[in-house]
């Protein structure tokens, strides 16, 4: 009985500590999410807000409208393409984390320089990348130097519908790389050195140590990083707005799913349709959930069965 009461007290204290954060999250995260989801099932525009009319329940009408809108379909397709940045980003960040984890001179400098893009403002990054991708920009100039392109046929990377999305994905890669590298580095440094040493004594090569020790022990970090970058990729918006002025051009080749939501609400606030934006947002959230589940599934721990 005494033990039970003590457990209860401990639980209450824990809840008391959690309460302030929970209240704040409830107010600023859960409530807006639930209300936004609710709006997806209603007809509610800026005119209703002005006239103080409540949202009117319309069931799945907005979802039908959104799913039938070719612009939303284009947006979802482009967002899915954007996911390709995730594996590349994760493999590169992990590989470089392994490299900068070596005890060699100047490693601190390397770690810092890889992290610089993370703290660079998007506005500044946009100016630089804009110049790199221009028709007469740094990228084409470098490719000519390497005899990889025909100079007469050069084009602006952001104005060609076949390259614009990839160009912007490269910026996302550049911005996210240092962030994930640091997370992986922290994970690597938590692996006990004795394990590596024992493996070396047993005659394991570098490749074997990487696959048999590093990767299994890094699974939680791998899951975290791939989850974070998947969610970030499916929700990409900032880069698109900065590089295309919010148009998603050329020819809608960079029009992403979240840009659709943005343009139906915040982007054109005085003409906003919150119902349609809510429905589109909910659909994107569902895709996000599905992908997160996939991430968990792929990195799941195998339990039991093994001696």
């Amino acid at each position: 009985m005494h033990v039970k009461r003590r457990a209860l007290t401990t639980a209450l204290i824990a809840y008391a500590f959690l309460a302030p954060a929970l209240v704040l999250m409830g107010l600023f995260t859960f409530y807006p999410v639930i209300y936004g989801a609710f709006l997806g099932f209603t007809d509610y525009t800026i005119a209703d807000l002005a006239a103080k009319e409540p949202p009117r329940w319309v069931g799945f009408a907005n979802f039908a409208q959104v799913l039938g809108d070719p612009l939303f379909q284009t947006g979802v397709w482009n967002s899915l393409k954007y996911l390709l940045v995730v594996p590349v980003l994760q493999v590169a960040a992990l590989a470089v984390a392994v490299l900068v984890n070596q005890k060699l001179p100047l490693m601190g400098l390397f770690r810092t320089s890889y992290y610089v893009p993370v703290v660079t403002s998007i506005a500044l990054a946009a100016v630089m990348w804009d110049w790199i991708f221009q028709k007469d920009g740094f990228l084409n100039w470098s490719l000519r130097l390497l005899h990889l392109i025909n100079w007469e046929g050069r084009f602006s990377w952001l104005l060609n519908e076949h390259t614009a999305l990839w160009a912007i994905m490269l910026v996302t890669f550049w911005r996210g790389f240092g962030y994930y590298m640091v997370l992986y580095l922290a994970g690597l440094q938590s692996i006990p050195a004795e394990l590596e040493e024992a493996a070396v004594l047993d005659g394991a090569g570098a490749w074997q140590r990487f696959w048999r020790i590093t990767v299994p022990l890094m699974k939680p970090t791998l899951l975290l990083c791939s989850l974070l970058s998947t969610i970030a990729a499916i929700r990409v918006l900032e880069e698109i707005i900065v590089f295309t002025g919010g148009s998603g051009g050329p020819l809608n080749s960079t029009y992403t799913a979240l840009l659709y939501v943005y343009n139906k609400s915040w982007g054109n606030m005085l003409d906003a349709n919150f119902g349609v934006a809510g429905a589109a947002g909910l659909l994107i959230a569902l895709v996000g959930f599905a992908l997160s589940y996939l991430n968990f599934y792929l990195t799941r721990e195998e339990r039991g069965g093994r001696a």
Partner: protein, 421 residues
């Protein structure tokens, strides 16, 4: 005892009430501007001080909004804390009025007084379904004046005085590009806001829609005009970057670097040149701008609106009229080269150039009193955002060679007529 306490309480409340009545005489209104701080703090604060002096019972709280203006306005209205006077512009006034967010001005100021105070052409920009919704404030003209780099023009053998029409300008641009490698003039063909190419049609005297509001910008003449610009971009006489960036911004950027020879617009275009390349600024010459076949000057203006949710509309109207009065607009034109939209400004002695050798002063003298020529072009259709997006997508497809000019315009007309609610 209880009764005594109650009586004392009542007395206290009564006194508070009286105190409140005395306080009530001062009303505070909230005034939102768009991107005016910190550059114009002195001017705005000066006008507010003058207003408060003339109206001691009204206090003005000034807030400058930037990127988030429209969001903040909607949020403030939703929260029941609407500002009283807000600086909007044509498209935003149109959208806000249509969605019932604004007060029709005739509820506060008579139509006659409005017509007396502002140029009718500018007042009509802010008239939605027959009702005026914005007190016209500072304006601009898209054509305004022609500012040019005389060295580049001389190198190309182009006589600036021979450029009288848009066709002359495009021909000059071809010569300049060939001879110097610099661009001549950068026309707005697909600015991120609005539907710029419709403006090109309008300036050349081509129709946008018929009397019933049905879009009809796909005649042979329209197709030929679009094709002409498509060919110019293909030949790199006008840069492809115009599909991604606002022409005004790109012109400003490249003119200062000596990569563009001609700027068409208001004198405000010169402010950045003055800052980033003072030598080029001193060399820059100013002449009257060439016009399209329709001989029109398009342009626009900012306005001051009063949200329907404002609780101090009378004071708000008083302040908005004061801020947009001729005296205050002319003062503003002397701080920064804007076009005054107050009636009679063309004869105001305070709008003459002070230094005939300073390019901004010369340009200011030529345009700041030209508010009566501001032509808003055509009224945007309802469901503006979707229709303009589709129009721009089609124009872009034509420029990128993915659709013929005819196909692009046919598709845009079809979408417009199916979706303009």
């Amino acid at each position: 005892m209880v009764k005594k306490l109650l009586a004392a309480g009542m007395l206290g409340l009564g006194l508070l009430g009286l105190g409140g009545m005395a306080q009530q005489r001062t009303v505070e209104i909230e005034f939102w501007t768009y991107y005016l701080s910190p550059n114009f703090d002195n001017y705005i604060k000066g006008v507010i001080a003058d207003f408060e002096k003339a109206n001691p019972t009204v206090k003005v709280k000034w807030v400058d909004k930037q990127d988030t203006m429209e969001r903040d306005l909607t949020a403030a209205i939703a929260l029941g804390k609407a500002p009283d006077v807000v600086n909007l512009w044509q498209d935003s006034t149109f959208a806000a009025a249509q969605n019932g967010l604004l007060t029709p001005l005739t509820e506060l100021t008579t139509q006659a007084a409005l017509e007396n105070a502002y140029y009718p052409n500018v007042l009509s920009i802010f008239t939605v379904d027959g009702k005026p919704y914005g007190y016209p404030w500072y304006g601009w003209v898209d054509q305004g004046v022609m500012m040019y780099n005389p060295e580049l023009l001389a190198k190309a053998g182009v006589d600036p005085n021979g450029i009288k029409t848009t066709d002359d300008l495009l021909a000059a641009s071809e010569k300049i590009k060939k001879a110097t490698g610099a661009y001549g003039w950068l026309p707005p063909v697909k600015d991120p806001n609005g539907a710029s190419f419709l403006g090109r049609f309008f300036l050349e005297g081509l129709s946008i829609y018929d009397a019933q509001g049905k879009a009809n910008f796909n005649s042979a003449a329209h197709v030929a005009l679009l094709q002409k610009y498509v060919d110019l971009m293909k030949a790199d006489v006008i840069p492809q970057e115009l599909l991604r960036k606002e022409a005004f911004q790109l012109t400003n950027e490249l003119y200062s670097q000596g990569k563009v020879a001609i700027m068409i617009g208001g004198p405000q275009s010169l402010n950045r040149v003055k800052e980033s390349n003072p030598d080029l600024y001193k060399k820059t010459k100013v002449v009257a701008a060439p016009l399209g076949a329709a001989k029109l000057q398009t342009g626009g203006a900012m306005d001051l609106v009063i949200p329907k949710a404002s609780t101090k509309k009378r004071e708000a109207a008083l302040f908005a009229s004061f801020m947009t009065s001729r005296a205050n607009q002319v003062k503003f034109a002397n701080v920064v080269p804007i076009v005054s939209t107050a009636r009679g400004s063309e004869n105001d002695p305070n709008l003459r150039p002070k230094d005939p050798n300073d390019p901004i002063e010369v340009a200011k003298g030529m345009v700041s009193g030209s508010g009566r020529f501001i032509n808003p072009g055509f009224k945007p259709p309802k469901n503006t955002d979707d229709i303009f997006k589709n129009f721009n997508d089609n124009i872009e497809a034509a420029f990128l060679g993915r659709k013929s000019a005819k196909q692009a315009l046919d598709d845009a007309v079809t979408f417009w007529n199916a979706n303009a609610k």
